[in-house]
Structure formats: structure tokens, C-alpha cells
């Protein structure tokens, strides 16, 4: 991609995001406040659940309370960052039905860029703040050292996790193009993803294998845990990167296949 194209993408994305924010402020202040309240409530209830479970059992799949909070918050942080960019996916069905997707296909920018990133939600930036804070707080409380190489490696893992999440969102909109169905696919995806936020050994061998090799969301929690808790295996990181790129390639292939069956809103 040429630099001028990249600039155009960034400029359009910024413009879209600012418009989205202005529209939220001007037209839906109540809805925005409810959205933030809902997200924070979800965060509080997740924390409460971990506290109750670990308070009773002392350990959850071998992790202490602070370790469990660290893993859960890191997972949620990755999820929130992804959603910050990928909110457009949840509105995708409507865009196919009302012809907006035809417009995406018509202009020089990539239709995939539009479909994924056209409704970036700036409210998610506000929501991600507590996660940042809790990740740091729980990390300090685990007693494991915070060093620059570990922080950098953690950033790489977050980027790879975001790629993996993006790949699954591409699959969701590809299904949307093919079958005009997005809501149920999103729900299915989010249930599986949420299962991966807990240590997978609690699901037994089958669940562990499913969430590690087929829907590898578990890796998004296990790899950072290994890194921070001193059990880091570089081969495992390599495997994680490989999984992320393979998923991205496959999702792009599926996306292009689904475009073959697209019949446009006017048909």
C-alpha cells in the first residue's frame, strides 16, 4: 500500500470517528451514559465473580486472586480495544440491507476497511481506562517484576490478540454478506471468547483443546500468563503468532469467497 493511500485511510477513519462522537454527543447523550454505565457494571460484576470464586476456593485452576484478576482484565482490555475499532461489525447487517455496503464497494477505499472500522466507538476509550488501571494494579499485586522487555512482549501479544479478534470479526461479516445474518454469529463468537477469558483447564480436556486449537481464544489468556508469571516459552509465542496470521489469512479468503455470492442491495 502506498503512503498516500495509508494517509487517506487514516484521514477517513479519523473523520468517521469524529462524526460518530459528535453524533453521540448531539443526539444520544442518554444512550452514551447508559452504554458507559453498562460497561462499568459488567466490569464490576466480573470482578465480584472472581473475588467470590477465588475467595471460596482460594485458587482458580492454580491461579491466585490477583493473578486471576490480572488475566481477566488483560483479556477484557484486548477485547475492549478490539471493539473500539470494530464496532461497525455489529451494524453490518443493516448496512447490507440498506445499500450502504454497495457504497463501500463503490469507492476507492477497501470495502473491508469500511465494514470493520466505519463505526469506531470513542466511548470505548473511556471504558478501557479502568481495564488499563486494573491490569497494572493486579500485576503489581501478583509480585512479579514489571520489566521493559516483558511490557514490550505483552504489547506484541496484545497486537497479535487484536489480529486474532479482527480475523474472527472478518468471518462474522463474511457470514453477514452470505446469509444476511450477523447478530447470532456475534453472540456465538462472544460466548466462545468469554469462555477463553478464564483458565481453560476448568473446562476439561475437550473444552481446553477446543479453545486452544480450534477457537484459540484461550491462547489470548495463557500466553500473557506464561509471560508475566515467569513461565515464558518463546516457541509458544511463535505458535501464537502463527495462529493469528493463519486465522487472518483464512478469514480474508473466506471474505473474498463470500463476496462472490453477494448480490447487492438492489437485487
Amino acid at each position: 500500500m502506498k503512503i498516500q493511500h495509508l494517509k487517506a485511510y487514516v484521514r477517513v477513519w479519523l473523520k468517521l470517528t469524529i462524526q460518530q462522537f459528535q453524533s453521540q454527543v448531539a443526539n444520544a447523550r442518554g444512550a452514551a451514559a447508559l452504554f458507559i454505565f453498562g460497561k462499568l457494571f459488567r466490569l464490576a460484576s466480573a470482578l465480584f465473580l472472581v473475588y467470590v470464586v477465588v475467595g471460596k476456593a482460594k485458587l482458580i485452576a492454580g491461579y491466585s486472586l490477583n493473578q486471576a484478576i490480572f488475566l481477566l482484565m488483560l483479556f477484557n482490555l484486548t477485547q475492549t480495544i478490539s471493539q473500539l475499532f470494530l464496532r461497525g461489525v455489529y451494524l453490518f447487517r443493516q448496512k447490507v440491507v440498506d445499500g450502504t455496503f454497495d457504497f463501500y464497494l463503490l469507492n476507492p477505499l477497501s470495502e473491508l476497511f469500511y465494514s470493520l472500522f466505519s463505526s469506531t466507538d470513542p466511548l470505548d476509550i473511556i471504558v478501557s481506562m479502568p481495564y488499563f488501571f486494573l491490569v497494572g494494579w493486579a500485576w503489581v499485586n501478583t509480585g512479579y517484576a514489571i520489566t521493559l522487555p516483558v511490557v514490550l512482549l505483552l504489547l506484541v501479544i496484545i497486537i497479535l490478540s487484536t489480529l486474532m479478534v479482527t480475523a474472527w470479526h472478518i468471518v462474522i461479516i463474511a457470514v453477514g454478506v452470505r446469509y444476511l445474518e450477523v447478530d447470532n454469529t456475534v453472540m456465538l463468537y462472544r460466548d466462545l471468547e468469554r469462555m477463553g477469558s478464564f483458565p481453560v483447564s476448568i473446562y476439561g480436556k475437550f473444552g481446553e483443546n477446543l479453545l486452544t486449537y480450534f477457537f484459540p481464544f484461550a491462547l489470548m489468556a495463557t500466553i500473557p500468563a506464561q509471560l508475566v508469571f515467569g513461565l515464558f516459552n518463546p516457541w509458544f509465542l511463535l505458535l501464537f503468532a502463527l495462529f493469528a496470521f493463519i486465522q487472518l489469512r483464512l478469514s480474508l479468503w473466506f471474505w473474498h469467497r463470500s463476496l462472490l455470492s453477494y448480490s447487492s442491495a438492489s437485487s
Binding site: 498516500q4 493511500h5 494517509k7 487517506a8 484521514r11 477517513v12 473523520k15 440498506d98 445499500g99 454497495d102 457504497f103 464497494l105 463503490l106 469507492n107 476507492p108 477505499l109 477497501s110 473474498h256 463476496l259 462472490l260 455470492s261 453477494y262 448480490s263 447487492s264 438492489s266 437485487s267
Partner: protein
């Protein structure tokens, strides 16, 4: 040099073939019309050229690049306007055009938009929201949006539908002028046959997913080979009736005017017979076949070239 090449293009929706292998090309600066009855495949063809639909097989090459693989660089030089495309309703006309200029990465936006405002006479509408515009005004804004990147290839779907006659004529002149000055190539679909006849250098006729006609509007019209001779007879009308009958011609009479259908090449001979038989008339007109006649015949499913022009 061909700027657009379509080769053996096919599109199938769920086992139903919609486009059954069409091929054509288009030269730089050419205005090409695409006509066909409803369901012929016009929109599907346009959508494949624009990259909205992916062909089942075949290729679309624009400026020597493949669609949809090279879509980004192709679409920077192509644009599209349709009466039936909605504009973002909340935005004003100005905001709509600014937004489009971002999509096409236009340098010196302010100057370009000023130019567009003047060309499409948008001064009074400039700060109005799109939702408050009439259908004709929206069509005008849609057309102006399609011109933001000064396209080398412009695809227009019913460009003057819902415009008042004065604005429609202005827009038609504008397209013709753009072609003359900048060699802009235009693909046009329209139900206004006069518009197609006046604007297009060549017309493709589609039917059931196949090209059944590809020629200039004049030559396509000539394939009809039927002319209507209209006479207001003042003396010896009975002799004219006999002449029509013996020549096996068809005729109808409306308000004292007899309209006789015959092959164009037989017209001089028939007029000679009229004169020889001393048939007097006070009024004579000849209706030559038009593109619309050809189109109607195609739409009705009759083979072109067959006529009921008689055998004098």
C-alpha cells in the same frame, strides 16, 4: 485504445445464470449506452464493471488493470451516479461533497468543490441538508458527487430521471462537453431513448443476459427496416385502399390520415404508384424507424430485421 475491456463475463446467482458470457470494449472518449428490457442484466453488468459484484467468470479490465483485484487504483479514476442511490440525509450538500473529496483523496479540496458548485449550479443548495432537497435536486447533487474526482470513466444510471427538462438538457450538454474537452468516457443506462440516441456513440442491447445488439443508434434503428408513410388523401381514397391491399401492406386510419407501414427501400416505388394512380393528398409525412422502435421490437421478443413491410 480501449479503456474498458469486458471478456466472456458471466454471473450466476444461486444456480440462475443472469449474465451469460458477454464481451465488449470501449474506447477512450466514447459514450456507450446500455439498453435492455427489465431483467436483461444491465444493472448486474454495471455492478460488475464497478466491482460491486464479483463475476462468476470472465474478466473486466479498466485502464489495463483488473477489476476487482486493482479496485483501489481503478476507482480513483472512475465514478458512478444513480438516481436511485441515497445520499447521507443528515449532511448538507457541502458536507456531502467534502466527505466524497476525502474518499477520493482530492488535493486542493476547496478549489475543486468551488468548481463543482458552479458547474452543477449548487449555490442555493450549498448549505441545505440533503433530506430537504427535492428528487431533482438530489439527482443534481448525486451527479456533482460523481464529478468530484473528475473521472476518466463515468457510469451513469438514469442520470436525468426526475430532473426538469431545462436542467436535464443542461446536464446532457455538460456530459457532451466533458467528452469533447477532457475525453471523458461515459457508460449510460436510460429509459429515455431520445437521450440515448442524442448522446451515445454506440449502444449495447442486452436481453436475457446476452448482448443482442452492438452498434450506433442510427444503424440499430435501421435494422427495423420499417417506415410509416402518412397521407391525408383528398381524392381517390378507394384506389389507395386497393393499392395497399394488392401490395400486401398494413395500414391504419386515424383522424383522416392513412398510415401505411412499408420497407424503407420500397417507399419511392410506392409513391410512384400513388402518383401514377392520380391519388391526391393534402398532407404527407414519413416516420423513419427510431431506436425506440428497435428497442420495443427487442423487448417484445421479435427478431430484429424481420418486418411486415410488404412486397411491392
Amino acid at each position: 485504445m480501449a479503456i474498458l475491456e469486458v471478456k466472456d463475463l458471466k454471473k450466476t446467482f444461486k444456480q440462475t445464470p443472469v449474465i451469460k458470457g458477454i464481451s465488449f470494449d470501449m474506447a477512450e472518449g466514447e459514450i456507450l449506452g446500455i439498453l435492455g428490457p427489465n431483467g436483461a442484466g444491465k444493472t448486474t453488468t454495471l455492478q460488475m464493471i464497478l466491482g460491486i459484484l464479483t463475476p462468476t467468470s470472465g474478466t473486466v479490465t479498466i485502464f489495463g488493470q483488473n477489476m476487482p483485484q486493482d479496485k483501489t487504483s481503478i476507482m480513483e479514476r472512475v465514478n458512478f451516479s444513480s438516481t436511485y442511490t441515497d445520499l447521507p440525509w443528515r449532511l448538507t450538500v457541502r458536507e456531502n461533497l467534502i466527505w466524497t473529496s476525502y474518499l477520493y483523496n482530492i488535493p486542493d479540496r476547496a478549489r475543486r468543490l468551488d468548481k463543482i458548485k458552479t458547474i452543477f449550479r449548487l449555490d442555493k443548495l450549498w448549505n441545505q441538508s440533503t433530506s430537504s432537497l427535492s428528487a431533482g435536486q438530489r439527482t443534481r447533487v448525486n451527479l456533482s458527487r460523481a464529478y468530484v474526482n473528475f473521472p476518466q470513466l463515468l457510469l451513469l444510471d438514469e442520470p436525468t430521471a426526475s430532473l426538469d427538462p431545462e436542467v436535464a438538457a443542461y446536464i446532457r450538454e455538460f456530459f457532451a462537453d466533458q467528452r469533447t474537452r477532457f475525453n471523458t468516457s461515459i457508460i449510460l443506462t436510460s429509459h429515455n431513448m431520445t437521450e440515448v440516441e442524442n448522446l451515445c456513440d454506440r449502444v449495447l442491447i442486452l436481453k436475457n443476459g446476452r448482448i443482442i445488439g452492438n452498434d450506433t443508434p442510427g444503424r440499430l434503428a435501421k435494422k427495423i427496416d420499417e417506415t410509416h408513410l402518412n397521407l391525408r388523401v383528398t381524392k381517390r381514397a378507394d384506389i389507395l385502399a386497393q393499392l395497399i391491399e394488392t401490395s400486401k401492406l398494413k395500414s391504419v386510419e386515424t383522424d383522416g390520415v392513412t398510415s401505411i407501414t412499408l420497407k424503407e427501400k420500397l417507399l419511392p416505388l410506392f409513391l410512384y404508384e400513388v402518383a401514377k394512380n392520380k391519388i391526391h393528398y393534402s398532407e404527407i409525412t414519413i416516420d423513419k424507424p427510431t431506436l425506440e422502435d428497435y428497442f420495443l421490437r427487442i423487448a417484445k421478443g421479435k427478431d430484429h430485421g424481420k418486418s411486415t413491410g410488404g412486397d411491392l
